[in-house]
């Protein structure tokens, strides 16, 4: 019984730490999706010139939802405040300019997004194992204290 409880405690703390580390997964996924959205948008502006609503990626993607309602960016918890501000400015003016200006703005955003994706990927690979280890250590500590 004692051993079962000890294993359960360790599993719960490890699982909790895994959940806390999910923000790193979501951040990387967000910037990856955003980069895909920007790439497709730029290709569309250069060649096809369809409205943003007709982009293949558009329907359910988070970037498209932000385009439809730029204020919704402030509800995304895993983004930092300065990132939210930059993205809000970008999305609230998206689609208002001619193709040359749009392309320029998208290129700038791609660079910004690419850097953030790189950082997010690095954080993901470094911090998720760290969180898991911390959770495990915390579980073991709790078990030792209790026993």
């Amino acid at each position: 019984m004692r051993y079962t409880l000890a294993i359960l405690i360790v599993l719960v703390t490890t699982y909790m730490s895994k959940i806390f580390s999910q923000k790193y997964v979501l951040r990387a996924k967000f910037f990856f999706n955003l980069q895909g959205f920007l790439t497709e948008l730029k290709r569309n502006i250069r060649v096809i010139k369809d409205p943003i609503s007709k982009l293949a990626l558009a329907e359910d993607s988070i970037p498209y939802r932000i385009f439809q309602s730029p204020n919704s960016i402030y509800e995304i918890e895993y983004l930092k405040e300065n990132e939210k501000e930059v993205l809000f400015q970008f999305f609230s003016n998206l689609g208002r300019y001619d193709s040359y200006m749009e392309e320029g703005r998208i290129t700038d955003m791609e660079e910004y997004c690419s850097k953030l994706l790189e950082v997010a990927e690095r954080e993901k690979t470094q911090k998720i194992p760290l969180y898991v280890k911390l959770g495990l250590a915390m579980g073991v500590s709790v078990v030792l204290i209790l026993m």
Binding site: P51, S53, G95, R96, D98, S99, Y100, M101
Partner: protein, 277 residues
């Protein structure tokens, strides 16, 4: 539809019954045209001025928040929005000496075309039910395009090809009748070639004759036994007869419109020698 576009952008109720044109100019009163009657848009006895916000809002709706996707159309003249024609004025953006877009938009012209049944009756008669070629001459807003639309609708039992280069004539198949085929967004020269080769037309209808080459293509139609009905921007018959683009023998009738009582007022009809009938 156009009512909600205007009301949502301007923010007040607008009577769109018989509305034919809206002009939104930055810093100036918004002007509504109901046929030949023009009036400024008022709310509580105060004129509503056009603003950047109103212009941006209309453009954003019309372009589905994707201006770049419509810039070519704006540069070519206008964007079609649920039957209305929306044109913009502003600072031109050029690439290789060609106008490709606009920025710093200062005004909008929204034209609401309407099918007016019976407006082409005199011209149908003058062309002997489409047997003769005819050039309709008139200034802006004299109803040239409306007449073309009704002409196509009025002719029965003949194959008609409508070449709608700028998307101004076609308001749905019903507006053109059951004998018309439409070539939309195709230039006149290509359209005439396509029509002659593949569509076996008795009559070709096209808007706004503008170049000598277009006139030459129309002459080919004439030689092929196809009647041509077209329009020309001018205020009298001399404006086409003295024009460099004029090719003798293309048209059998010239109809001059004037803007006095309303759209489509026929002022005079001339034969192919320029003699008034």
């Amino acid at each position: 539809m156009i009512k909600s576009l205007l009301e949502n952008s301007i923010g007040i109720e607008i009577d769109t019954k018989n509305l034919t044109e809206v002009r939104v100019r930055k810093g100036l009163p918004i002007v509504l045209s109901y046929g030949v009657i023009m009036k400024t848009l008022n709310s509580h006895n105060k004129e509503i001025l056009g603003t950047s916000e109103i212009i941006s809002s209309i453009i954003a709706t019309v372009t589905e928040n994707s201006f770049y996707a419509f810039e070519d159309k704006f540069a070519r003249g206008f964007v079609d929005y649920q039957g209305a024609k929306i044109a913009i004025c502003g600072e031109g953006v050029y690439k290789n000496k060609q106008l490709i877009s606009f920025k710093n938009i200062t005004s909008l012209a929204i034209r609401i075309p309407r099918a007016v049944l019976g407006i082409a009756d005199k011209i149908v008669k003058a062309t002997e039910n489409g047997e003769l070629s005819c050039l309709i001459i008139g200034k802006t807003a004299t109803g040239k395009t409306t007449i073309l639309r009704d002409f196509a609708h009025s002719i029965k039992g003949k194959n008609i090809v409508v070449i709608d280069e700028r998307g101004e004539i076609y308001l749905g198949q019903k507006s053109l009748g059951e004998y018309a085929d439409i070539l939309e967004s195709v230039d006149k020269e290509t359209g005439i070639m396509l029509a002659i080769r593949g569509l076996n037309p008795d009559i070709i209808i096209c808007d706004e004759l503008y170049t000598y080459n277009e006139m030459k293509e129309m002459y080919r139609c004439k030689l092929a036994g196809i009647s041509v009905i077209s329009t020309y921007h001018g205020d009298n018959i001399q404006s086409i007869l003295n024009s460099k683009i004029f090719v003798e023998g293309v048209f059998d009738r010239f109809v001059v419109l004037e803007k006095t009582r309303g759209r489509g007022d026929v002022f005079a009809i001339y034969d192919n020698k320029g003699e008034r009938i």
